[in-house]
């Protein structure tokens, strides 16, 4: 078991390297950086919670090849993203543009926060009058406190 552990760690580390490793060769570091940025921002359609960079799906590999090919053709990031959006829709983007269909996605959390704020404010207001007890109650409480103090 003790010996198995380093082996397991090594396997995990190698797996990590393999997943991050790309068989592509880049003309320069800037292009490589652009490739990694694009692959991280584009979403794999088969395993939808992974980016192209993370996914081992065949389709992700195909799309990585396409991105690499287009980078080498000298296309801009916008053109490459546009190419994929034309075919797969905004779905391939982890940061979809603000539009009619994505407005709920973008502003939903803000709406929820606002709603929670309203509820919180209303609850605070509903409780506020209770903070000032009526005179009879105040007198009763004071009497109770006094009697307690005398006891101790």
């Amino acid at each position: 078991m003790k010996r198995a552990f380093p082996a397991l760690l090594l396997a995990l580390a190698l797996g990590r390297v393999q997943a991050a490793d790309t068989p592509f060769e880049f003309a320069d570091a800037a292009t490589e950086q652009r490739y990694h940025k694009l692959a991280a921002e584009l979403r794999c359609l088969v395993c939808q919670n992974q980016s192209l960079a993370d996914s081992h799906a065949d389709l992700a590999q195909d799309l990585r090849d396409e991105v690499y090919r287009m980078l080498n053709e000298g296309r801009t990031d916008e053109e490459i993203v546009g190419f994929l959006v034309e075919r797969y829709g905004d779905f391939v983007l982890y940061r979809p543009p603000v539009s009619g269909t994505t407005s709920l996605l973008w502003f939903g959390p803000l709406l929820l926060l606002l709603g929670a704020g309203v509820v919180w404010w209303r609850m605070g207001r509903a409780r506020a009058p209770a903070a000032a007890p009526d005179p009879d109650e105040a007198a009763a409480i004071a009497a109770l406190k006094r009697s307690r103090n005398e006891e101790s």
Binding site: L45, V46, Q48, D58, L59, D62, L63, E66, V85, E86, R87, Y88, G89, D90, F91, V119, R122, A126
Partner: protein
């Protein structure tokens, strides 16, 4: 009265979650609907020397069925395609996706060939242009070469009856 607000929130939550449960998270709406089918020049599955191109798809509405011999879900929908080709007024074109000619031909021989024509796309180039992400996929393309409908996953009798058949009937009518 004080229970109204929590009750309202609860009801809204239930409705939102119920709708969410019914939605298919794997469904990706295609941006290609009502767009012209992409240009391509590939070869016929049965004949590496015979070219087939976009213009061969024009002139009549048809189904373009994307399939592969390695695709297990394709086997599920295939009997329906065979039956449609035999019994219904519909032309089905096969797009063999990322496959080999040998495997594809053997598969068609074993399971039946419903396709009027089969396009061979070993690298998935046309598949990429069609935004294919999960075979089988089926497109309805009208006479002008415009994509009218896309089904991701196996075709079912319900989808045929409720979506594709009425659509084909509409497409068959001459335009005003």
């Amino acid at each position: 009265m004080r229970f109204i607000v929590p009750l309202a929130i609860f009801i809204v939550l239930v409705v939102v979650l119920a709708v969410g449960l019914k939605l298919d998270p794997r469904y990706v709406p295609s941006p290609l609907i009502d767009k012209p089918a992409p240009e391509f020049t590939l070869t016929r599955l049965a004949d590496p020397a015979a070219q087939v191109a976009r213009q061969d798809l024009l002139g009549r509405p048809l189904l373009l069925n994307v399939w592969a011999s390695w695709c297990s879900a394709c086997r599920i929908e295939h009997p329906l395609l065979v039956e449609l080709a035999r019994r219904e007024q519909v032309e089905i074109i096969g797009l063999n996706y990322k496959d080999t000619r040998e495997d594809a031909a053997a598969w068609l021989k074993a399971h039946g060939d419903p396709y009027r024509d089969s396009i061979f796309d070993p690298e998935g180039k046309l598949g990429l242009d069609l935004g294919v992400y999960g075979v089988p996929e089926t497109f309805v393309i009208d006479a002008a070469g415009v994509i009218r409908y896309k089904q991701v996953g196996p075709l079912t009798p319900e989808v045929w009856q409720q979506e594709i058949k009425p659509l084909l009937a509409r497409l068959a009518q001459p335009r005003p």
